[in-house]
Assembly symmetry: D3
Homo-oligomer: 129 residues x 6
């Protein structure tokens, strides 16, 4: 396991990123993901900057829809940490239990059908090219 | 490649499913995916029934959001057929070029961060348990 | 694309492996997979030796069942080459169209349920530990 | 983690599915997978119905072979829950330790060769098209 | 397929990124990857900026080793485009045919052993925790 | 979980492999991976033989680079056991914290870009064919 760097221990670039996380999320808590990435400050800084823009920047997709997409990917990849943390994030942005159930149904069916399309070697229809 | 069964050749259960696809989608066209699955009628019937319910049945998520989730999974799995056909489906339900670009950004970042969380062996925060 | 090395061009270790493939499979044809691996003779030799033992050596699982398992993995990974070549191999060992349809159903459902188990964060039952 | 719904707490559609699971499997025990899916009754009902047909319905592949295929997919996807529960299911249908070892060898080799075929960019042989 | 935006058609942010790609790589050619991402300028800009830093910035790993790692990931994910383009990139940084063969062997064995570890449900040794 | 076979319990082919592991690695410790594979002696013997050659045999890539490639694959596949054990192996061969951070950055970016290439359906440039 990668050692976690706590806010109190942080300095320099790590402290700057931690402060921006706190300010952006309006909380003093920092998730373990960021505390682990702090072991390599440039990765921490780039990852936070990218996530902040993609999930929180201006755009046509609302914050809940963005979280649903993120969660669908994390489930497909079987990333335990990401499933746990982004399910919580989705709930905080309005995901109800029914929405989660529907999301799971779609993720399940898509994973099934992806394999059916590959396994049956289905050629792409001309109209989709 | 699996031989494709055309509507005109179809009989029995396959014809029933093809008729329901035509009626549900209000078009005489049937995608290659269904023509290939027709090689095994029970798989065709079960898959269509499940997809119809999950993507078209009542629920809290609107049709466009469902397609975005389906597309995000298909991209993560690298399924060429599904990416081509569901990108078209998403466009038909209102996905703009900007929305597609935002979706791609989220899918990309989630795939990156899933590996970062796994690779740094980040322990799940107590609050997410 | 990796250049393919034809039997006539082969020498040394590559020729030895090609001869063993021909003798084992009772055919003068050599699949592109082996012609491509021939670019790196030690990889060719190790891969052929391993495959020959695992798929053709003594054991409790019969040759058709082994091919079905191999095909299920290849479909799950979306490997186009492997799906095409091992579907042919399975047919040569007795896989009927109905068996292929059933295999696809199982592969599809397993892929769906794998994601459902991960996404719902289902804890392992004590009896399975 | 998704809360688990016990049989005693279940009502309506969930109770119906739980009763069918008990009757089909001839046991009062219900696995955590179904208790978790019960959070979203339509997903529970559809998933059980599909699994029951695909794994238990009539067909050319016998029950043990079906479980071996299911297990091979679950291992390839790295789904801990599914590996644990379907390994037990396979054992209950006759999988010996030797069969499991052979299955693992095939799953391992197929995963290796899938990457070799992709990485060497092997073109599909004409005879496989 | 996403339309490709050629250098001559590019304006604004896209033109700036294209100019930086040309200057950094010392060539007027721009790969299709960037021409496709140009459909969504913010994704293009962020992706280029990240790739440039990670693959070309200062660090302890030399450029060839970075490309080998990138290629190993792309092969594991079965991304045809990335395998083709990064194999060329690796060759341009010094990858010999023998190195590519060794890389393939390692990628193959790691993919096999990843499944063996998951399938045999191997517990992590205390010394690795 | 698969029962672990300790050195003291081992006999025959398993004992031979265990002795070779001890001699090769110059330690009396045997990792859980091998103790689990010992349940199926032919899989144990073939896997050890292959790993020993690929990771330790002669070649152009030095031992550290081989471990970095192996680790990159294991992270991409999300194999917890392999990440833990091969991170330790990489450290023992000279991987510094900075190198690990750089590796993670590359693995993350490659996973992101693999999806971008697939999702944008980027055609392979002629020069890469």
């Amino acid at each position: 396991m990668t050692p976690l760097i706590e806010y109190e221990q942080s300095t320099g670039l790590v402290r700057e990123v931690f402060d921006d996380i706190r300010a952006t999320r309006q909380t003093t808590e920092i998730n373990n993901f960021w505390k682990a990435l702090a072991q390599h400050p440039p990765t921490l800084a780039r990852t936070w900057s990218l996530l902040k823009e993609v999930m929180g920047g201006p755009g046509e997709l609302d914050p809940l829809v963005r979280e649903l997409i993120y969660l669908a990917v994390s489930i497909t990849n079987g990333c335990d940490y990401c499933i746990a943390s982004h399910r919580a994030a989705a709930v905080s942005k309005g995901m109800t239990d029914a929405m989660f159930g529907e999301l799971m149904s779609i993720v399940g069916v898509a994973n099934m059908n992806n394999r059916l399309a590959d396994g049956f070697q289905v050629p792409v229809d001309d109209k989709f090219k």
